[in-house]
């Protein structure tokens, strides 16, 4: 096919996906491998280059991609194309990832934090399409975020803006991987759901989760669906904690929309009431009344599609 297209990638701690995406946002072709579990940065960079070149060769599109947008699960300096800091991909810290890949693939590479990329994707084709001011929240092992302000992605001074998972909601609370304590990520991520359920199950013999040493947030979800009181209370608390952080953002940013995505968002009806109640209790009336809370709609593809949008927008501007 002879259409303009870009490469778009999403590099997480577990999987590395790269796709060819056309200007309408259709994923024409996609390839995926496991992210190399290595201490050597060049192994990851080489894997990205290999999959990218394979993707170009196999996507069935004529010509070269216009640019390559790459979403990464790291703090990103998007201006300099550098990965700055990541618990999941520490070997990339400080590396000029964009240049390293660009030199080999011969295509301009634009780096973006994965949650910011997902916010861009949702704003292009998903739940926040046409909305000028929105906050995207992604729940997973941690909590990520991305901001669309005045109709454009907001990256801040270095491109690291949007890290809403590290808003402090308990000053002397749980230690966080970021070095702080009491970050909302420690109270409302998939990891936090498991911890809270463990704490509650310890004092409840009747819970389906009682006495189980090893369970996942999916197990807590399944137990809640079966009516387990501990599991239900876990999601209620998780909603309250997340609501505390989001209430602050409602007052500070007065967004029209807050989108929530990621695995635990599937438990929407288990946490959304307590989350909304917390926002209503804490935020000012007018912005609390304005904001709508909705589920993100693009699922796993939000990051790839956002990275594609970044590539289309950035190409030719630099």
């Amino acid at each position: 096919m002879s259409k303009e297209y870009v490469l778009a990638g999403d590099v997480g701690g577990t999987n590395l996906r790269i796709a060819a995406v056309d200007a309408g946002g259709s994923i024409v072709h996609q390839e995926s491998v496991e992210t190399p579990q290595t201490r050597i940065a060049s192994d990851i960079v080489d894997a990205i280059i290999r999959v990218a070149l394979s993707c170009v060769a196999n996507c069935g599109m004529d010509g070269r991609p216009r640019a390559f947008g790459l979403a990464m699960a790291t703090l990103v300096n998007s201006r300099e194309g550098k990965s700055l800091s990541s618990p999941n991909l520490p070997e990339l810290n400080g590396l000029s990832v964009a240049d390293a890949i660009s030199d080999q693939v011969g295509i301009k590479v634009f780096l973006e934090n994965d949650a910011t990329a997902a916010a861009i994707g949702e704003n292009w084709l998903g739940s926040s399409k046409g909305v000028a001011n929105s906050v995207f929240v992604t729940l997973g092992t941690g909590i990520g975020g991305g901001l669309i302000l005045n109709g454009r992605v907001f990256r801040g001074t270095d491109g690291t803006a949007g890290e809403i998972g590290h808003i402090c909601i308990e000053p002397e609370g749980q230690a966080c991987g970021c070095g702080s304590r009491g970050c909302v990520e420690q109270y409302a991520s998939a990891t936090a759901i498991v911890r809270i359920a463990h704490e509650l199950a310890e004092v409840s013999d009747s819970s389906l989760l009682a006495g189980r040493v090893d369970f996942s947030s999916k197990d807590v979800y399944d137990a809640a669906r079966l009516g387990d009181a501990v599991a239900i209370e876990t999601f209620r608390r998780m909603g309250r904690y997340l609501g505390t952080a989001l209430a602050g953002l409602v007052d500070v940013l007065n967004p029209e929309l807050i989108l929530i995505g990621g695995g635990p968002a599937k438990a929407w009806d288990l946490f959304i009431d307590s989350l909304k109640a917390e926002i209503a209790d804490r935020a000012f009336g007018p912005p609390a009344k304005t904001v709508r809370l909705v589920r993100a709609s693009l699922g796993d593809s939000a990051g790839i599609l956002g990275a594609a949008r970044v590539a289309f927008d950035a190409e030719g501007t630099q």
Copy 2:
């Protein structure tokens, strides 16, 4: 003088000031009265109109002002020119203040929250001049804020954005006038400084503040300057609390600059070290390294000058 000028006002719970301001940001003429202490909204509106007309008559400028920018100590819907909610000026809640004044004065009126106006003023002529991304914090009876993002004031969906004083830093903490608990305003405003000093002085016989029933944040400041340990510790704690909230904004907004103004900012060297330490401890390394903390430079005139800038910018656009 024959120059273009605007009217600019700053309406607080105590004083009402209106000035004629030229395009260079010079205050050509200024008048001030006490804000009517009344339950009747029209008394305040009438006072604004009276001072505004007097200001036009006495400012010595030829012709009519181009527009009238009005900064108010209330939550403002700047799009609709409405005052939404205020502990200081409750009688104005829901009133279309801009229209009411505009009808009488015959000049377009543009309403702005006072802290947001101050942020605009500082960005025009003060500490954040030329800076694309900054957070303005004003410490007083409460804590207000204003955001400059991507080189423009950020007002959010309704114009209420920037209310950083109500970021929660202690979920079960002090009750706040906004209806929530544990807002940073309850831990780092002038009011909070007095409360913290009272709590500490109660258990310290040697403090200059011990046994005193009634003192102000200025008294705490004076005691700290005399080396009083309780007063010094009060400002150290206030800095830590404010730092907890600002660390979240550093992660979320990645600003280049945070400006701090208002009365308690005079105690800068008493709180800035603990504030910076808290940001360093809590925020991500890269944005924490980027952000600079500075004192606001326009003092009491920031709001008036920002309101003037709003009037110059808005005139002709609506």
